[in-house]
Protein backbone atom coordinates (compact mmCIF):
# COMPACT_ATOMS: atom_id res chain seq x y z
CA UNK A 1 0.00 0.00 0.00
CA UNK A 2 2.79 2.35 0.92
CA UNK A 3 4.44 1.56 -2.36
CA UNK A 4 1.33 2.22 -4.40
CA UNK A 5 0.61 5.46 -2.59
CA UNK A 6 4.15 6.64 -3.21
CA UNK A 7 3.85 5.71 -6.87
CA UNK A 8 0.55 7.52 -7.27
CA UNK A 9 2.11 10.59 -5.67
CA UNK A 10 5.01 10.47 -8.14
CA UNK A 11 2.58 10.12 -11.03
CA UNK A 12 0.62 13.13 -9.84
CA UNK A 13 3.74 15.26 -9.43
CA UNK A 14 4.90 14.20 -12.93
CA UNK A 15 1.50 15.15 -14.28
CA UNK A 16 1.54 18.54 -12.56
CA UNK A 17 5.08 19.44 -13.60
CA UNK A 18 4.57 18.37 -17.22
CA UNK A 19 1.38 20.34 -17.21
CA UNK A 20 3.37 23.39 -16.19
CA UNK A 21 5.92 22.75 -18.98
CA UNK A 22 3.15 22.37 -21.53
CA UNK A 23 1.43 25.55 -20.37
CA UNK A 24 4.76 27.39 -20.65
CA UNK A 25 5.27 26.13 -24.19
CA UNK A 26 1.64 26.85 -24.95
CA UNK A 27 2.13 30.52 -24.11
CA UNK A 28 5.15 30.62 -26.42
CA UNK A 29 3.88 28.53 -29.31
CA UNK A 30 0.14 28.31 -28.84
CA UNK A 31 -0.40 31.97 -28.03
CA UNK A 32 2.39 33.79 -29.83
CA UNK A 33 3.60 31.29 -32.43
CA UNK A 34 7.15 31.13 -31.11
CA UNK A 35 8.91 27.88 -31.97
CA UNK A 36 10.93 26.89 -28.94
CA UNK A 37 12.77 23.70 -29.84
CA UNK A 38 14.58 23.47 -26.54
CA UNK A 39 11.90 23.72 -23.87
CA UNK A 40 13.76 21.35 -21.63
CA UNK A 41 16.84 23.61 -21.43
CA UNK A 42 14.73 26.19 -19.65
CA UNK A 43 13.57 23.53 -17.26
CA UNK A 44 17.21 22.59 -16.60
CA UNK A 45 18.14 26.24 -16.07
CA UNK A 46 15.43 26.66 -13.46
CA UNK A 47 16.34 23.41 -11.75
CA UNK A 48 20.12 23.93 -11.72
CA UNK A 49 19.94 27.49 -10.50
CA UNK A 50 17.49 26.53 -7.77
CA UNK A 51 19.95 23.83 -6.74
CA UNK A 52 23.05 26.01 -6.56
CA UNK A 53 21.18 28.69 -4.64
CA UNK A 54 19.73 26.29 -2.09
CA UNK A 55 22.71 23.96 -1.62
CA UNK A 56 25.53 24.71 0.79
CA UNK A 57 28.92 25.69 -0.56
CA UNK A 58 30.53 22.94 -2.63
CA UNK A 59 32.69 20.66 -0.53
CA UNK A 60 35.77 20.13 -2.67
CA UNK A 61 36.84 17.00 -0.83
CA UNK A 62 33.75 15.19 -2.12
CA UNK A 63 34.78 15.80 -5.75
CA UNK A 64 31.42 17.39 -6.45
CA UNK A 65 31.84 20.84 -7.89
CA UNK A 66 29.26 23.49 -8.54
CA UNK A 67 29.11 27.27 -8.62
CA UNK A 68 27.64 29.52 -5.91
CA UNK A 69 26.33 27.18 -3.20
CA UNK A 70 24.65 29.99 -1.29
CA UNK A 71 22.45 27.91 0.99
CA UNK A 72 19.49 30.25 0.69
CA UNK A 73 16.10 29.28 2.07
CA UNK A 74 14.19 27.32 -0.54
CA UNK A 75 11.49 29.90 -1.45
CA UNK A 76 14.21 32.43 -2.30
CA UNK A 77 16.22 29.85 -4.21
CA UNK A 78 13.07 28.90 -6.08
CA UNK A 79 12.71 32.51 -7.12
CA UNK A 80 16.35 32.58 -8.26
CA UNK A 81 15.83 29.49 -10.43
CA UNK A 82 12.74 31.00 -12.01
CA UNK A 83 14.52 34.29 -12.68
CA UNK A 84 17.44 32.42 -14.28
CA UNK A 85 15.11 30.61 -16.64
CA UNK A 86 13.32 33.83 -17.55
CA UNK A 87 16.64 35.56 -18.15
CA UNK A 88 17.69 32.82 -20.57
CA UNK A 89 14.39 33.29 -22.38
CA UNK A 90 15.05 37.02 -22.58
CA UNK A 91 18.54 36.48 -24.03
CA UNK A 92 17.32 34.01 -26.64
CA UNK A 93 14.51 36.39 -27.56
CA UNK A 94 16.92 39.28 -27.83
CA UNK A 95 18.96 37.39 -30.39
CA UNK A 96 16.20 36.03 -32.54
CA UNK A 97 12.85 37.70 -32.02
CA UNK A 98 13.64 40.74 -34.13
CA UNK A 99 13.78 38.53 -37.19
CA UNK A 100 10.60 38.01 -39.12
CA UNK A 101 10.99 34.39 -40.07
CA UNK A 102 10.21 31.85 -37.38
CA UNK A 103 13.02 29.61 -38.70
CA UNK A 104 15.60 31.86 -37.13
CA UNK A 105 14.17 31.64 -33.66
CA UNK A 106 13.83 27.89 -34.01
CA UNK A 107 17.48 27.66 -35.09
CA UNK A 108 18.63 29.87 -32.22
CA UNK A 109 16.68 27.89 -29.62
CA UNK A 110 18.08 24.64 -31.00
CA UNK A 111 21.61 26.07 -31.02
CA UNK A 112 21.20 27.37 -27.47
CA UNK A 113 20.03 23.96 -26.34
CA UNK A 114 22.97 22.16 -27.95
CA UNK A 115 25.38 24.71 -26.54
CA UNK A 116 24.04 24.73 -22.98
CA UNK A 117 23.91 20.93 -22.97
CA UNK A 118 27.55 20.68 -24.03
CA UNK A 119 28.66 23.46 -21.71
CA UNK A 120 26.94 22.08 -18.61
CA UNK A 121 27.99 18.54 -19.42
CA UNK A 122 31.63 19.06 -20.35
CA UNK A 123 32.38 21.66 -17.70
CA UNK A 124 32.31 19.93 -14.35
CA UNK A 125 32.95 23.15 -12.43
CA UNK A 126 29.53 24.62 -13.32
CA UNK A 127 26.95 22.03 -12.31
CA UNK A 128 29.11 18.98 -11.77
CA UNK A 129 29.26 17.99 -15.44
CA UNK A 130 27.74 14.76 -16.68
CA UNK A 131 27.22 13.33 -13.20
CA UNK A 132 24.95 16.22 -12.34
CA UNK A 133 23.76 17.53 -9.02
CA UNK A 134 22.32 15.33 -6.30
CA UNK A 135 21.35 15.64 -2.64
CA UNK A 136 19.66 18.90 -3.53
CA UNK A 137 17.87 20.29 -0.49
CA UNK A 138 14.18 19.59 -0.71
CA UNK A 139 11.51 21.74 0.88
CA UNK A 140 9.23 20.44 3.66
CA UNK A 141 11.85 17.90 4.73
CA UNK A 142 11.82 19.21 8.30
CA UNK A 143 8.07 18.64 8.67
CA UNK A 144 7.77 15.44 6.69
CA UNK A 145 9.58 13.05 9.00
CA UNK A 146 6.91 10.63 10.13
CA UNK A 147 6.41 8.51 7.06
CA UNK A 148 8.30 7.95 3.78
CA UNK A 149 5.29 9.03 1.74
CA UNK A 150 4.60 12.12 3.76
CA UNK A 151 6.99 14.27 1.75
CA UNK A 152 5.56 12.95 -1.52
CA UNK A 153 2.02 13.83 -0.59
CA UNK A 154 2.90 17.24 0.79
CA UNK A 155 4.63 17.82 -2.51
CA UNK A 156 1.60 16.63 -4.51
CA UNK A 157 -0.43 19.34 -2.80
CA UNK A 158 2.32 21.92 -3.23
CA UNK A 159 2.90 21.24 -6.94
CA UNK A 160 -0.85 20.99 -7.47
CA UNK A 161 -1.35 24.44 -5.99
CA UNK A 162 1.50 25.86 -8.09
CA UNK A 163 0.03 24.26 -11.20
CA UNK A 164 -3.38 25.68 -10.41
CA UNK A 165 -1.94 29.17 -10.02
CA UNK A 166 -0.04 28.82 -13.31
CA UNK A 167 -3.16 27.49 -14.99
CA UNK A 168 -5.32 30.34 -13.80
CA UNK A 169 -2.66 32.85 -14.78
CA UNK A 170 -2.34 31.34 -18.27
CA UNK A 171 -6.10 31.44 -18.78
CA UNK A 172 -6.25 34.99 -17.54
CA UNK A 173 -3.43 35.88 -19.95
CA UNK A 174 -5.23 34.20 -22.83
CA UNK A 175 -8.29 36.41 -22.41
CA UNK A 176 -6.35 39.59 -21.68
CA UNK A 177 -5.55 42.24 -24.30
CA UNK A 178 -1.93 41.09 -24.20
CA UNK A 179 -3.01 37.52 -24.92
CA UNK A 180 -5.15 38.75 -27.80
CA UNK A 181 -2.18 40.61 -29.24
CA UNK A 182 -0.09 37.45 -28.96
CA UNK A 183 -2.66 35.41 -30.83
CA UNK A 184 -3.02 38.11 -33.46
CA UNK A 185 0.76 38.04 -34.03
CA UNK A 186 0.60 34.28 -34.37
CA UNK A 187 -1.94 34.67 -37.17
CA UNK A 188 -0.43 37.61 -39.00
CA UNK A 189 2.33 39.78 -37.66
CA UNK A 190 2.05 42.40 -40.40
CA UNK A 191 -1.53 43.16 -39.45
CA UNK A 192 -0.57 43.61 -35.81
CA UNK A 193 2.32 45.85 -36.78
CA UNK A 194 0.04 47.99 -38.86
CA UNK A 195 -2.23 48.44 -35.85
CA UNK A 196 0.67 50.09 -34.10
CA UNK A 197 1.37 47.25 -31.67
CA UNK A 198 4.98 46.68 -30.74
CA UNK A 199 5.03 43.08 -31.85
CA UNK A 200 8.64 42.56 -30.78
CA UNK A 201 7.72 43.49 -27.23
CA UNK A 202 4.63 41.30 -27.20
CA UNK A 203 6.56 38.31 -28.54
CA UNK A 204 9.33 38.94 -26.06
CA UNK A 205 6.79 38.96 -23.23
CA UNK A 206 5.40 35.64 -24.44
CA UNK A 207 8.93 34.23 -24.66
CA UNK A 208 9.88 35.35 -21.15
CA UNK A 209 6.58 34.41 -19.50
CA UNK A 210 6.75 30.99 -21.14
CA UNK A 211 10.37 30.50 -20.01
CA UNK A 212 9.51 31.57 -16.47
CA UNK A 213 6.69 29.03 -16.32
CA UNK A 214 8.87 26.23 -17.70
CA UNK A 215 11.47 27.29 -15.11
CA UNK A 216 8.87 26.89 -12.34
CA UNK A 217 8.28 23.36 -13.57
CA UNK A 218 12.04 22.76 -13.54
CA UNK A 219 12.37 23.93 -9.95
CA UNK A 220 9.50 21.66 -8.91
CA UNK A 221 11.15 18.73 -10.69
CA UNK A 222 14.45 19.05 -8.87
CA UNK A 223 12.71 19.78 -5.57
CA UNK A 224 10.81 16.53 -5.85
CA UNK A 225 13.58 14.30 -7.17
CA UNK A 226 16.46 16.03 -5.44
CA UNK A 227 18.85 15.41 -8.36
CA UNK A 228 19.35 16.27 -12.01
CA UNK A 229 21.99 15.35 -14.58
CA UNK A 230 22.22 16.14 -18.31
CA UNK A 231 20.82 12.69 -19.11
CA UNK A 232 17.55 13.95 -17.65
CA UNK A 233 17.09 16.74 -20.16
CA UNK A 234 17.83 15.46 -23.63
CA UNK A 235 16.09 16.48 -26.85
CA UNK A 236 13.69 13.59 -26.37
CA UNK A 237 12.30 15.31 -23.28
CA UNK A 238 11.60 18.46 -25.27
CA UNK A 239 9.56 16.32 -27.61
CA UNK A 240 7.44 14.92 -24.83
CA UNK A 241 6.36 18.48 -24.06
CA UNK A 242 5.78 19.28 -27.73
CA UNK A 243 3.84 16.07 -28.29
CA UNK A 244 1.70 16.76 -25.24
CA UNK A 245 0.89 20.24 -26.49
CA UNK A 246 0.13 19.17 -30.06
CA UNK A 247 -1.91 16.13 -29.07
CA UNK A 248 -3.85 18.05 -26.47
CA UNK A 249 -4.51 21.08 -28.60
CA UNK A 250 -2.49 24.24 -28.89
CA UNK A 251 -3.60 27.59 -27.49
CA UNK A 252 -5.93 25.83 -25.10
CA UNK A 253 -4.86 25.13 -21.55
CA UNK A 254 -7.46 22.41 -21.14
CA UNK A 255 -5.76 20.75 -24.10
CA UNK A 256 -2.45 21.13 -22.26
CA UNK A 257 -3.87 19.15 -19.35
CA UNK A 258 -5.28 16.42 -21.59
CA UNK A 259 -2.02 16.26 -23.55
CA UNK A 260 0.24 15.97 -20.54
CA UNK A 261 -2.04 13.32 -19.08
CA UNK A 262 -2.05 11.29 -22.31
CA UNK A 263 1.57 11.67 -23.38
CA UNK A 264 3.68 12.53 -20.34
CA UNK A 265 1.87 10.34 -17.82
CA UNK A 266 -0.03 7.51 -19.51
CA UNK A 267 2.20 6.87 -22.55
CA UNK A 268 5.52 7.59 -20.85
CA UNK A 269 4.69 5.57 -17.75
CA UNK A 270 3.12 2.66 -19.60
CA UNK A 271 6.24 2.14 -21.70
CA UNK A 272 8.30 1.81 -18.52
CA UNK A 273 6.67 -1.56 -17.88
CA UNK A 274 7.68 -3.10 -21.18
CA UNK A 275 10.39 -5.62 -20.23
CA UNK A 276 13.90 -4.64 -21.25
CA UNK A 277 15.62 -6.50 -24.06
CA UNK A 278 18.92 -7.56 -22.46
CA UNK A 279 21.00 -7.28 -25.65
CA UNK A 280 19.57 -3.83 -26.46
CA UNK A 281 19.22 -1.84 -23.22
CA UNK A 282 18.30 1.30 -25.17
CA UNK A 283 15.69 -0.32 -27.37
CA UNK A 284 12.65 0.69 -25.34
CA UNK A 285 13.66 4.35 -24.77
CA UNK A 286 14.59 4.61 -28.46
CA UNK A 287 11.28 3.13 -29.54
CA UNK A 288 9.49 5.49 -27.19
CA UNK A 289 11.22 8.45 -28.86
CA UNK A 290 10.37 7.13 -32.33
CA UNK A 291 6.74 6.86 -31.32
CA UNK A 292 6.69 10.32 -29.76
CA UNK A 293 8.28 11.83 -32.88
CA UNK A 294 5.77 9.97 -35.01
CA UNK A 295 2.96 11.13 -32.74
CA UNK A 296 3.99 14.75 -33.30
CA UNK A 297 3.97 14.29 -37.08
CA UNK A 298 0.73 12.31 -37.18
CA UNK A 299 -1.12 14.69 -34.91
CA UNK A 300 -0.20 17.58 -37.21
CA UNK A 301 -1.43 15.59 -40.20
CA UNK A 302 -4.68 14.25 -38.80
CA UNK A 303 -5.69 16.64 -36.09
CA UNK A 304 -3.59 19.82 -36.01
CA UNK A 305 -6.06 21.45 -33.66
CA UNK A 306 -5.54 18.67 -31.09
CA UNK A 307 -7.96 16.66 -28.97
CA UNK A 308 -9.34 19.81 -27.39
CA UNK A 309 -9.28 22.47 -30.11
CA UNK A 310 -8.89 26.14 -29.40
CA UNK A 311 -12.22 27.86 -29.02
CA UNK A 312 -13.05 30.15 -31.88
CA UNK A 313 -13.22 33.70 -30.65
CA UNK A 314 -16.82 34.82 -30.49
CA UNK A 315 -17.68 38.46 -30.57
CA UNK A 316 -20.85 40.32 -29.89
CA UNK A 317 -22.35 41.10 -33.28
CA UNK A 318 -23.46 44.65 -33.59
CA UNK A 319 -25.61 45.33 -36.66
CA UNK A 320 -23.70 47.46 -39.12
CA UNK A 321 -25.08 50.86 -39.83
CA UNK A 322 -25.01 52.10 -43.39
CA UNK A 323 -22.33 54.66 -42.84
CA UNK A 324 -22.72 56.41 -46.18
CA UNK A 325 -26.44 57.07 -45.77
CA UNK A 326 -26.12 59.53 -42.91
CA UNK A 327 -22.44 60.46 -42.87
CA UNK A 328 -21.58 64.11 -42.88
CA UNK A 329 -18.10 65.52 -43.30
CA UNK A 330 -16.35 65.80 -39.99
CA UNK A 331 -18.66 63.34 -38.28
CA UNK A 332 -17.56 59.92 -37.10
CA UNK A 333 -18.55 57.52 -39.88
CA UNK A 334 -20.59 54.58 -38.84
CA UNK A 335 -20.54 55.55 -35.21
CA UNK A 336 -21.12 52.04 -33.86
CA UNK A 337 -18.02 50.27 -35.01
CA UNK A 338 -18.30 46.91 -33.30
CA UNK A 339 -15.47 45.77 -31.05
CA UNK A 340 -15.19 42.81 -33.37
CA UNK A 341 -13.74 44.95 -36.10
CA UNK A 342 -10.95 46.26 -33.95
CA UNK A 343 -10.06 42.84 -32.60
CA UNK A 344 -10.25 40.75 -35.69
Amino acid sequence: MTLILGYVATLLVTFFTYNIFVIGLNIQFGYAGILNFTVITFMAFGAYFYAVFVMPHADNSSQVFYILGLHWPWPLAMLAGIVASGALGYLVGLIALKRLRSDYLAIVTLATGTLVYGLFGNNNKLFDGWSGLFNVNQPFQSVATNHPNEFSWIFVVFSGVVMLVVWLFANRLYASPLGRSMRAIREDQDVVDSFGKNSFKVRMLAMVIGSVIVGIGGVLTIQYIGALSPAGWTTGETFVVWAALLVGGRANNLGAIVGSLLVAVIFNEATRYIPQVPSHPNLIPNLRNVIIGGLVILSIWFRPQGVVPEKKASFLEVPLVDKYAQGFPGEEPGGTLSPAASEA
Binding site: F29, G33, L35, F37, I95, A96, K98, R99, L100, R101, S102, D103, Y104, A106, I107, V108, L110, A111, T112, T114, L115, G118, L119, N122, T235, G236, F239, W242, L246, H280, N282, L283, N286, L287, N289, V290, I292, G293, G294, V296, I297, I300, W301, P304
Partner: protein, 291 residues
Protein backbone atom coordinates in the same frame (compact mmCIF):
# COMPACT_ATOMS: atom_id res chain seq x y z
CA UNK B 1 52.90 30.72 -34.99
CA UNK B 2 53.37 27.17 -36.24
CA UNK B 3 50.29 26.09 -34.28
CA UNK B 4 48.40 28.98 -35.79
CA UNK B 5 49.33 27.90 -39.33
CA UNK B 6 48.54 24.27 -38.49
CA UNK B 7 45.11 25.35 -37.36
CA UNK B 8 44.56 27.18 -40.63
CA UNK B 9 45.16 23.82 -42.30
CA UNK B 10 42.62 22.13 -40.02
CA UNK B 11 40.28 25.04 -40.73
CA UNK B 12 40.50 24.14 -44.38
CA UNK B 13 39.48 20.57 -43.60
CA UNK B 14 36.57 21.64 -41.40
CA UNK B 15 35.51 24.15 -44.03
CA UNK B 16 35.53 21.37 -46.62
CA UNK B 17 33.26 19.18 -44.50
CA UNK B 18 30.99 22.13 -43.75
CA UNK B 19 30.85 23.29 -47.36
CA UNK B 20 29.30 19.98 -48.48
CA UNK B 21 26.78 20.13 -45.67
CA UNK B 22 25.84 23.78 -45.88
CA UNK B 23 25.47 23.71 -49.67
CA UNK B 24 23.18 20.70 -49.35
CA UNK B 25 21.01 22.44 -46.79
CA UNK B 26 21.03 25.70 -48.69
CA UNK B 27 20.02 24.16 -52.03
CA UNK B 28 17.03 22.47 -50.45
CA UNK B 29 16.04 25.60 -48.53
CA UNK B 30 16.19 27.70 -51.66
CA UNK B 31 13.80 25.44 -53.54
CA UNK B 32 11.36 24.39 -50.79
CA UNK B 33 11.64 27.49 -48.59
CA UNK B 34 11.64 25.77 -45.22
CA UNK B 35 14.50 24.68 -43.00
CA UNK B 36 14.96 20.95 -42.63
CA UNK B 37 15.71 20.26 -38.96
CA UNK B 38 16.15 16.56 -39.71
CA UNK B 39 19.22 17.38 -41.81
CA UNK B 40 21.56 16.46 -38.95
CA UNK B 41 20.13 12.96 -38.94
CA UNK B 42 20.88 12.52 -42.66
CA UNK B 43 24.56 12.85 -41.74
CA UNK B 44 24.13 9.90 -39.42
CA UNK B 45 22.37 7.92 -42.15
CA UNK B 46 25.26 8.47 -44.58
CA UNK B 47 27.90 7.71 -41.98
CA UNK B 48 26.33 4.50 -40.83
CA UNK B 49 25.40 3.23 -44.31
CA UNK B 50 28.99 3.70 -45.44
CA UNK B 51 30.07 1.80 -42.33
CA UNK B 52 27.70 -1.07 -43.13
CA UNK B 53 28.87 -1.26 -46.74
CA UNK B 54 32.57 -1.11 -45.90
CA UNK B 55 32.92 -2.94 -42.59
CA UNK B 56 30.06 -5.43 -42.68
CA UNK B 57 29.71 -6.10 -46.43
CA UNK B 58 33.44 -5.62 -47.15
CA UNK B 59 33.06 -3.27 -50.10
CA UNK B 60 36.13 -1.21 -50.96
CA UNK B 61 35.86 2.03 -49.03
CA UNK B 62 35.39 4.32 -52.03
CA UNK B 63 32.49 2.16 -53.23
CA UNK B 64 30.99 2.09 -49.76
CA UNK B 65 31.23 5.86 -49.54
CA UNK B 66 29.61 6.28 -52.95
CA UNK B 67 26.80 3.87 -52.07
CA UNK B 68 26.30 5.57 -48.69
CA UNK B 69 26.06 8.93 -50.42
CA UNK B 70 23.53 7.79 -53.00
CA UNK B 71 21.42 5.86 -50.51
CA UNK B 72 21.24 8.90 -48.22
CA UNK B 73 20.00 10.84 -51.22
CA UNK B 74 17.36 8.18 -51.80
CA UNK B 75 16.36 8.25 -48.12
CA UNK B 76 16.06 12.02 -48.28
CA UNK B 77 13.97 11.81 -51.45
CA UNK B 78 11.69 9.13 -50.02
CA UNK B 79 11.16 11.09 -46.80
CA UNK B 80 10.41 14.22 -48.78
CA UNK B 81 7.95 12.41 -51.08
CA UNK B 82 6.33 10.43 -48.30
CA UNK B 83 6.19 12.94 -45.48
CA UNK B 84 7.32 16.48 -46.18
CA UNK B 85 5.85 17.21 -49.61
CA UNK B 86 2.34 16.03 -48.66
CA UNK B 87 2.48 18.48 -45.76
CA UNK B 88 3.79 21.22 -48.04
CA UNK B 89 1.06 20.51 -50.61
CA UNK B 90 -1.57 20.90 -47.93
CA UNK B 91 -0.15 24.39 -47.48
CA UNK B 92 0.51 23.81 -43.83
CA UNK B 93 1.96 26.90 -42.24
CA UNK B 94 5.71 27.22 -41.82
CA UNK B 95 5.37 26.44 -38.10
CA UNK B 96 4.05 23.02 -38.81
CA UNK B 97 6.62 22.24 -41.49
CA UNK B 98 9.39 23.02 -39.03
CA UNK B 99 7.83 20.94 -36.26
CA UNK B 100 7.40 18.03 -38.69
CA UNK B 101 11.08 18.10 -39.70
CA UNK B 102 12.04 18.45 -36.04
CA UNK B 103 9.91 15.42 -35.20
CA UNK B 104 11.48 13.58 -38.09
CA UNK B 105 14.94 14.18 -36.63
CA UNK B 106 13.91 12.48 -33.39
CA UNK B 107 12.48 9.51 -35.30
CA UNK B 108 15.55 9.10 -37.54
CA UNK B 109 18.08 9.51 -34.73
CA UNK B 110 16.40 6.88 -32.63
CA UNK B 111 15.91 4.49 -35.53
CA UNK B 112 19.65 4.74 -36.20
CA UNK B 113 20.34 4.02 -32.55
CA UNK B 114 18.03 1.02 -32.64
CA UNK B 115 19.95 -0.41 -35.60
CA UNK B 116 23.48 0.55 -34.63
CA UNK B 117 23.41 1.12 -30.86
CA UNK B 118 25.45 3.72 -29.05
CA UNK B 119 28.90 2.26 -29.71
CA UNK B 120 31.72 4.12 -31.38
CA UNK B 121 32.58 3.04 -34.90
CA UNK B 122 35.60 3.37 -37.13
CA UNK B 123 35.87 2.91 -40.89
CA UNK B 124 38.14 0.07 -41.96
CA UNK B 125 40.66 2.42 -43.58
CA UNK B 126 44.34 2.55 -42.72
CA UNK B 127 45.32 5.51 -40.54
CA UNK B 128 48.27 7.14 -42.22
CA UNK B 129 50.82 9.31 -40.49
CA UNK B 130 50.44 13.02 -41.29
CA UNK B 131 51.99 14.44 -44.44
CA UNK B 132 53.64 17.83 -44.15
CA UNK B 133 52.89 20.30 -46.92
CA UNK B 134 54.54 23.65 -46.34
CA UNK B 135 53.46 24.83 -42.89
CA UNK B 136 50.46 22.51 -42.88
CA UNK B 137 50.15 18.93 -41.83
CA UNK B 138 47.39 16.64 -43.06
CA UNK B 139 46.54 12.98 -42.88
CA UNK B 140 45.76 11.30 -46.18
CA UNK B 141 42.10 11.21 -45.21
CA UNK B 142 42.10 14.97 -44.68
CA UNK B 143 43.67 15.58 -48.09
CA UNK B 144 41.01 13.37 -49.61
CA UNK B 145 38.31 15.33 -47.77
CA UNK B 146 39.56 18.60 -49.23
CA UNK B 147 39.72 17.06 -52.70
CA UNK B 148 36.20 15.63 -52.40
CA UNK B 149 34.84 18.99 -51.26
CA UNK B 150 36.52 20.85 -54.12
CA UNK B 151 35.20 18.38 -56.68
CA UNK B 152 31.72 18.51 -55.15
CA UNK B 153 31.67 22.32 -55.11
CA UNK B 154 32.75 22.47 -58.76
CA UNK B 155 30.07 19.88 -59.48
CA UNK B 156 27.40 21.97 -57.75
CA UNK B 157 28.56 25.03 -59.63
CA UNK B 158 28.32 23.20 -62.97
CA UNK B 159 24.95 21.79 -62.00
CA UNK B 160 23.55 25.22 -61.21
CA UNK B 161 25.06 27.03 -64.17
CA UNK B 162 25.08 24.45 -66.99
CA UNK B 163 22.21 22.03 -66.58
CA UNK B 164 18.49 22.37 -67.09
CA UNK B 165 17.87 20.98 -63.61
CA UNK B 166 20.20 23.50 -62.01
CA UNK B 167 18.67 26.39 -63.88
CA UNK B 168 15.20 25.20 -62.89
CA UNK B 169 16.33 25.01 -59.27
CA UNK B 170 17.60 28.57 -59.39
CA UNK B 171 14.41 29.73 -61.04
CA UNK B 172 12.27 28.06 -58.38
CA UNK B 173 14.44 29.53 -55.68
CA UNK B 174 13.92 33.01 -57.12
CA UNK B 175 10.21 32.81 -57.78
CA UNK B 176 8.21 29.63 -57.36
CA UNK B 177 5.04 30.79 -59.10
CA UNK B 178 6.88 32.27 -62.05
CA UNK B 179 8.89 29.08 -62.41
CA UNK B 180 5.74 26.97 -62.38
CA UNK B 181 3.98 29.15 -64.93
CA UNK B 182 6.95 29.01 -67.28
CA UNK B 183 6.47 25.30 -67.52
CA UNK B 184 9.06 23.97 -65.09
CA UNK B 185 8.03 20.63 -63.64
CA UNK B 186 8.37 21.91 -60.07
CA UNK B 187 7.41 18.59 -58.50
CA UNK B 188 10.17 16.78 -60.31
CA UNK B 189 12.74 19.47 -59.62
CA UNK B 190 11.79 19.43 -55.92
CA UNK B 191 12.25 15.67 -55.88
CA UNK B 192 15.75 15.93 -57.41
CA UNK B 193 16.64 18.76 -55.06
CA UNK B 194 15.86 16.56 -52.07
CA UNK B 195 17.97 13.81 -53.62
CA UNK B 196 20.96 16.11 -54.15
CA UNK B 197 20.56 17.65 -50.72
CA UNK B 198 20.49 14.19 -49.18
CA UNK B 199 23.55 13.08 -51.18
CA UNK B 200 25.52 16.08 -49.97
CA UNK B 201 24.39 15.43 -46.38
CA UNK B 202 25.40 11.79 -46.65
CA UNK B 203 28.75 12.58 -48.22
CA UNK B 204 29.30 15.31 -45.63
CA UNK B 205 28.53 12.81 -42.88
CA UNK B 206 31.00 10.31 -44.30
CA UNK B 207 33.84 12.82 -44.60
CA UNK B 208 33.01 14.14 -41.12
CA UNK B 209 33.35 10.59 -39.79
CA UNK B 210 36.64 10.19 -41.70
CA UNK B 211 37.89 13.40 -40.13
CA UNK B 212 36.96 12.61 -36.53
CA UNK B 213 37.98 8.93 -37.06
CA UNK B 214 35.77 7.41 -34.38
CA UNK B 215 32.09 8.25 -34.54
CA UNK B 216 28.63 7.50 -33.18
CA UNK B 217 25.24 7.52 -34.87
CA UNK B 218 24.56 11.02 -33.50
CA UNK B 219 27.99 12.53 -34.18
CA UNK B 220 26.47 14.74 -36.86
CA UNK B 221 23.66 15.97 -34.65
CA UNK B 222 25.60 18.61 -32.73
CA UNK B 223 27.05 19.87 -36.01
CA UNK B 224 23.58 20.87 -37.16
CA UNK B 225 23.68 24.35 -35.74
CA UNK B 226 27.22 24.91 -37.02
CA UNK B 227 25.79 24.14 -40.48
CA UNK B 228 22.97 26.60 -39.79
CA UNK B 229 25.55 29.18 -38.77
CA UNK B 230 27.39 28.73 -42.07
CA UNK B 231 24.15 28.90 -44.08
CA UNK B 232 22.86 32.01 -42.30
CA UNK B 233 26.28 33.64 -42.55
CA UNK B 234 26.26 33.21 -46.30
CA UNK B 235 22.65 34.31 -46.71
CA UNK B 236 19.98 31.67 -46.28
CA UNK B 237 19.11 29.90 -49.54
CA UNK B 238 22.22 31.20 -51.30
CA UNK B 239 24.36 28.34 -52.57
CA UNK B 240 27.54 30.29 -53.13
CA UNK B 241 26.93 32.15 -49.90
CA UNK B 242 26.79 28.80 -48.12
CA UNK B 243 30.23 27.91 -49.53
CA UNK B 244 31.58 31.22 -48.26
CA UNK B 245 29.86 30.76 -44.91
CA UNK B 246 31.34 27.28 -44.55
CA UNK B 247 34.81 28.63 -45.27
CA UNK B 248 34.47 31.42 -42.70
CA UNK B 249 32.94 29.23 -39.97
CA UNK B 250 35.43 26.42 -40.59
CA UNK B 251 38.40 28.78 -40.42
CA UNK B 252 37.13 30.75 -37.42
CA UNK B 253 36.30 27.70 -35.34
CA UNK B 254 39.63 25.99 -36.00
CA UNK B 255 41.77 29.11 -35.64
CA UNK B 256 40.05 29.85 -32.33
CA UNK B 257 41.62 26.69 -30.94
CA UNK B 258 45.01 28.45 -31.07
CA UNK B 259 43.75 30.74 -28.33
CA UNK B 260 41.12 28.85 -26.37
CA UNK B 261 40.37 25.23 -25.55
CA UNK B 262 39.09 23.22 -28.50
CA UNK B 263 36.15 22.17 -26.33
CA UNK B 264 34.65 25.58 -27.07
CA UNK B 265 34.90 25.32 -30.87
CA UNK B 266 31.14 25.14 -31.28
CA UNK B 267 30.59 28.04 -28.93
CA UNK B 268 32.63 30.15 -31.34
CA UNK B 269 30.31 29.11 -34.17
CA UNK B 270 27.38 30.07 -31.98
CA UNK B 271 28.89 33.49 -31.29
CA UNK B 272 29.36 34.04 -35.04
CA UNK B 273 25.73 33.00 -35.59
CA UNK B 274 24.52 35.41 -32.91
CA UNK B 275 26.62 38.32 -34.19
CA UNK B 276 25.39 37.64 -37.68
CA UNK B 277 21.74 37.59 -36.62
CA UNK B 278 22.19 40.82 -34.70
CA UNK B 279 24.30 42.74 -37.19
CA UNK B 280 23.54 41.39 -40.63
CA UNK B 281 20.67 38.93 -40.50
CA UNK B 282 20.27 38.85 -44.27
CA UNK B 283 23.70 37.22 -44.56
CA UNK B 284 26.83 38.16 -46.48
CA UNK B 285 25.05 37.59 -49.79
CA UNK B 286 21.42 38.46 -49.14
CA UNK B 287 18.70 36.67 -51.07
CA UNK B 288 15.62 38.46 -52.24
CA UNK B 289 12.36 37.36 -50.69
CA UNK B 290 13.95 35.03 -48.17
CA UNK B 291 14.50 35.73 -44.50
Amino acid sequence: MTIFLLNIGFGLVTASVLSLLSVGLSLQFGVTNFVNFAYGSYLGVGMMLAYTFSATLHFPFWAAAALGTIFTGVVSMVIAEGVLEPFARRRKSLFYMLIVTFGLSLVLDNLLQIFYGVDFFQYPVAQSSPVTIGPFSFTNAQLEIIAIAVVAMVGVHLLLSRTRLGKAMRAMSDNMDLARSSGIDTKNVTRWTWFISGCLAGLGGIVLALNIVSFQTNSGETLLFVIFAAVILGGIGQTYGAMLGALVIGMVTEISTSFISSAYKQDIAFIVLVLMLLLRPQGLIPAKGKA
